[in-house]
């Protein structure tokens, strides 16, 4: 095994790794929000060593090297099954999956849809910049119609984007939220709620791309926060659909659109309850 422990970096959430995101990239703000959320939870009694992340591959994934918590830097598209594995390996860990829009809605779409069914107690944060940016700007399922790229005929995406929140709702995901990368304070609060939610929590983070998807940038003027979480799916659908992921003047609602309680994947296994009840370090700590 490689990977010695890295807790010699003391208790800070920062690492010494040099950040390589583009200057001005909102990923810096998502990292800031994640650190705010985890710090707030640590202040409430959570342990830093009890967090673990799973990441996919793309610009978002670099967060793995910048955040001093345990984790598995997985394959492109596979952050969700990796996160589920971490949770089944040690249900006492607080699991965060960071993934991109290409990861979640393209390569790994089956995992996203199935996540609603499994309902493992993990939080998924999708950095949605509506572009495959690390590979220099190919269209993803959420890229806006007309997205300029070098693949589609005539250089423009001919089809409408999908609305990931609609997909989440119809997939039975038990916590659905949208956040704005440019607002780390509020995003941190949503992240904190998502981590605390018992079940699969999905936070779609609207994110600019300063290099490969400039036309979608600076949407703050259209954004507003929900006062309260909708109590019916009809209401949630109405609010989710205000924004169709194309460029326009439509309003973009932020906040929690849906939350419900259902038994989690871990709840289904009586075998896991001893690990949870006795607060041991996963299977390793279990006397069998």
């Amino acid at each position: 095994m490689k990977k010695e422990t890295i807790d010699q970096h003391d208790k800070k959430l920062d690492t010494k790794y040099q950040i390589s995101w583009c200057p001005g990239c909102p990923n810096f703000r998502i990292l800031e929000a994640a650190k705010l959320a985890i710090t707030s939870l640590i202040n409430q009694g959570y342990k830093q060593t009890d967090f673990a992340m799973a990441t996919g591959i793309g610009c978002h994934g670099k967060i793995f090297d910048y955040l001093n918590i345990s984790g598995f830097y997985g394959l492109h598209g596979r952050a969700i099954p990796t996160a589920i594995g971490l949770k089944l390996g040690n249900p006492n860990l607080n699991i965060i999956a960071f993934a991109g829009d290409g990861d979640t809605y393209s390569e790994g779409l089956q995992h996203f849809i199935s996540a609603g069914k499994h309902n493992a107690d993990i939080a998924l944060f999708v950095h949605d910049n509506q572009s495959f940016s690390l590979t220099t700007g190919q269209p993803t399922p959420t890229s806006e119609k007309g997205f300029k790229n070098k693949i589609d005929i005539h250089g423009e995406k001919p089809t409408n984007p999908i609305n990931p929140l609609m997909l989440a709702l119809s997939s039975g995901i038990t916590f659905i939220a949208r956040a704005n990368a440019r607002d780390p304070q509020q995003t941190a609060k949503i992240m904190e709620q998502a981590i605390k939610h018992k079940g699969f929590a999905f936070v779609e983070i609207i994110q600019d791309c300063v290099v490969f998807n400039v036309p979608i940038n600076n949407r703050d003027k259209n954004m507003y926060y929900l006062d309260k979480t909708p109590t019916t799916k009809e209401e949630a659908i109405k609010l989710i659909q205000e924004y169709d992921y194309n460029i326009g003047d439509g309003k973009i609602a932020l906040g929690v659109f849906w939350q419900e309680q259902r038994p989690t994947l871990e709840d289904q296994f009586p075998q896991l309850q001893n690990i949870i009840k006795n607060k041991v370090q996963g299977w390793k700590g279990l006397k069998r």
Binding site: M1, K2, K3, E4, T5, I6, D7, H9, T15, Y17, Q48, T49, D50, A52, A54, I57, K62, F64, D65, N68, I69, S70, G71, F72, Y73, G74, L75, R78, I80, P81, T82, A83, I84, G85, L86, L88, G89, N90, N92, L93, Q110, H111, I113, S114, H118, F269, P270, Q271, L272, Q281, G282, W283, K284, G285, L286, R288
Partner: protein, 510 residues
């Protein structure tokens, strides 16, 4: 003494219960049985059959000529009549149709009478095997038993303590002996049996069984479960394993322990899904992009399956390496008589640090000592050398296990080389021949003993259940020796030991 009895019928008629009752009664008395299962990919209808082979000596194969047919339908008689010896018997369904679902019990009882088994022994077994409406079953049994006379006098058996076990049950037992914590799999014939066995045992034994949305989710979640500290195994067949390839490579980079149960069937693609083949050896050896060490072990019997599964867990945890247990449909689904004791399993201890104890990272990127991503040439170079060195250490570790096994006449100059499920038919075929059989158990790493055995022999014959002789090619790669004489079978069916014996005599001895 050796008997081969075909038990055939439509899918859903319950031919397996006939095999179960008969082999259970016979093994309790000390006879050995081997039950080959042949079925198409059909849930109801078609033609399913078992060949139940019976002997007073240890056997691990079935033969092509048949001493008796137990026919649950007319098609069974049609299909198998040409294989029947002149002295052979047929038990027909016609007079027992009134017993409905207990037709199989009536036919089993008729067969028991032909073999001279006492009625009370049979009835005890029926009471054991059938829980629901046992009275109806006993009525069918009475009628079946009364319909025949004893035609075959079985020789006195040895007092053996025999357990009937399939290859799948053996793999599950090996995993349980290793205190498996998590088994993750997606259904695919012929790997599904292990998924179902381990699932049925999970509450009793304490491990978890998880069926996610596909094989890609299987391998990725399994690596994470293992990283978090669980003794983890996944199971699949060739097609599912092919889907997992990127995850297999992720094991090579992340060095998280992982045991893979890969049980092959004939390809390419969907191929012949409920039949057998050794066509996926190359896949097991080469799967996954990039260059990284692995272990490939091929048990040939249930005893080996139990023991080698434990070794796979041990090596995987000890070295952070991928351990592949390579089986096939013939080993997985055939039912063997197990008589030898099982070696005491090695305890699998998780000594590595896991998340929660400390902050620790695993990654798909090339990385430095603490798991940080790197593109540095020096680190990439050093990590490459580290992977090479690790394989050398694995090779050393494997030395303490049985990597090859010699059967037959140990001083014979006629050498047969084979691996996996063909071992049973080869061992039975060479019982009275001047031949030595070298069974390869560890395919990666490959034992250096193999070269010596080849060099000491006058004639060498390769036997594989595939089209291209994949082990032969590997031996040539590792030893420079090309084994020219080959018996390769690639009709999606396993070897019959009697036909194989004639082929061996022709190729190797005459």
């Amino acid at each position: 003494m050796r008997l081969n009895i075909v038990i055939g019928g439509r899918a859903g008629q319950g031919i397996n219960l006939v095999s179960k009752i008969v082999s259970s009664v016979l093994t309790q008395q000390g006879y050995f049985t081997f039950n080959y299962r042949d079925y198409p990919s059909i849930i109801r209808g078609g033609h399913n059959f078992n060949v139940l082979s019976i002997s007073d000596e240890k056997i691990e194969s079935h033969e092509s000529t048949i001493d008796g047919i137990v026919a649950m339908d007319d098609l069974t008689m049609e299909v198998h009549k040409k294989e029947l010896k002149k002295s052979g018997f047929i038990i027909k369904p016609d007079s027992f149709l009134e017993f409905g679902i207990n037709l199989n019990v009536a036919l089993a009882a008729a067969l028991m009478k032909i073999l001279g088994i006492k009625k009370d022994v049979l009835n005890d077994e029926i009471k054991q095997s059938i829980k629901k409406n046992v009275e109806d079953a006993l009525k069918a049994s009475d009628a079946g038993y009364a319909s025949e006379t004893t035609k075959i006098q079985l020789p006195a058996p040895h007092p053996n303590k025999i357990r009937i076990i399939s290859g799948s049950e053996a793999i599950a037992e090996g995993a349980a002996n290793s205190h498996i914590d998590a088994y993750i799999a997606y259904p695919m014939t012929p790997s599904t049996a292990v998924l179902q066995i381990l699932a049925s045992q999970q509450e009793k034994l304490g491990h978890i069984v998880f069926q996610p949305e596909g094989e890609i989710a299987v391998v990725n979640s399994a690596l994470a479960v293992s990283f978090a500290g669980a003794r983890t195994m996944i199971g699949t067949s060739g097609g599912g394993f092919a889907l997992m390839n990127e995850g297999i490579s992720l094991q090579g980079q992340s060095e998280v322990p992982l045991v893979v149960y890969l049980v092959s069937r004939p390809g390419p693609a969907t191929g012949v899904p409920t039949y057998t083949s050794q066509g996926d050896l190359n896949l097991a050896l080469r799967a996954g992009h990039g260059e990284f060490p692995r272990v490939v072990i091929a048990p040939g019997t249930p005893k080996e399956a139990i023991e080698k599964t434990n070794e796979a867990f041990y090596l995987s945890e000890q070295h952070g390496v991928l351990s592949i247990i390579l089986s096939d449909k013939h080993l997985a689904e055939s039912e063997f008589s197990l008589v030898e004791p099982i070696n005491k399993p090695t305890k699998i201890q998780i000594k590595r640090k896991v998340p929660g104890e400390t902050i620790i990272k695993a990654t798909s990127y090339e990385h430095d000592d603490i798991g940080n991503t790197t593109e540095d040439a020096d680190i990439a170079y050093k990590n490459g050398l580290k992977r090479l060195k690790k394989y050398e250490e694995i090779k050393k570790s494997c030395q303490k296990f049985e990597m090859i096994k010699i059967h037959g006449k140990k001083d014979s100059k006629n050498l047969i080389i084979g691996w996996g499920s063909t071992a049973g038919a080869i061992k039975d075929a060479i019982k009275d021949l001047d031949a030595k059989f070298l069974q390869v158990l560890y395919i990666k790493p490959l034992s250096s003993e193999i070269k010596k055995h080849i060099e000491e022999s006058s004639n060498v014959l390769l036997i594989e259940n595939n089209l291209t002789g994949q082990l032969g090619r590997l031996i040539r790669e590792k030893t420079g020796i090309s084994v020219k004489k080959r018996i390769l079978k690639f009709d999606a069916r396993p070897f019959h030991s009697d036909i194989l014996k004639q082929q061996i005599i022709k190729e190797l001895i005459s």
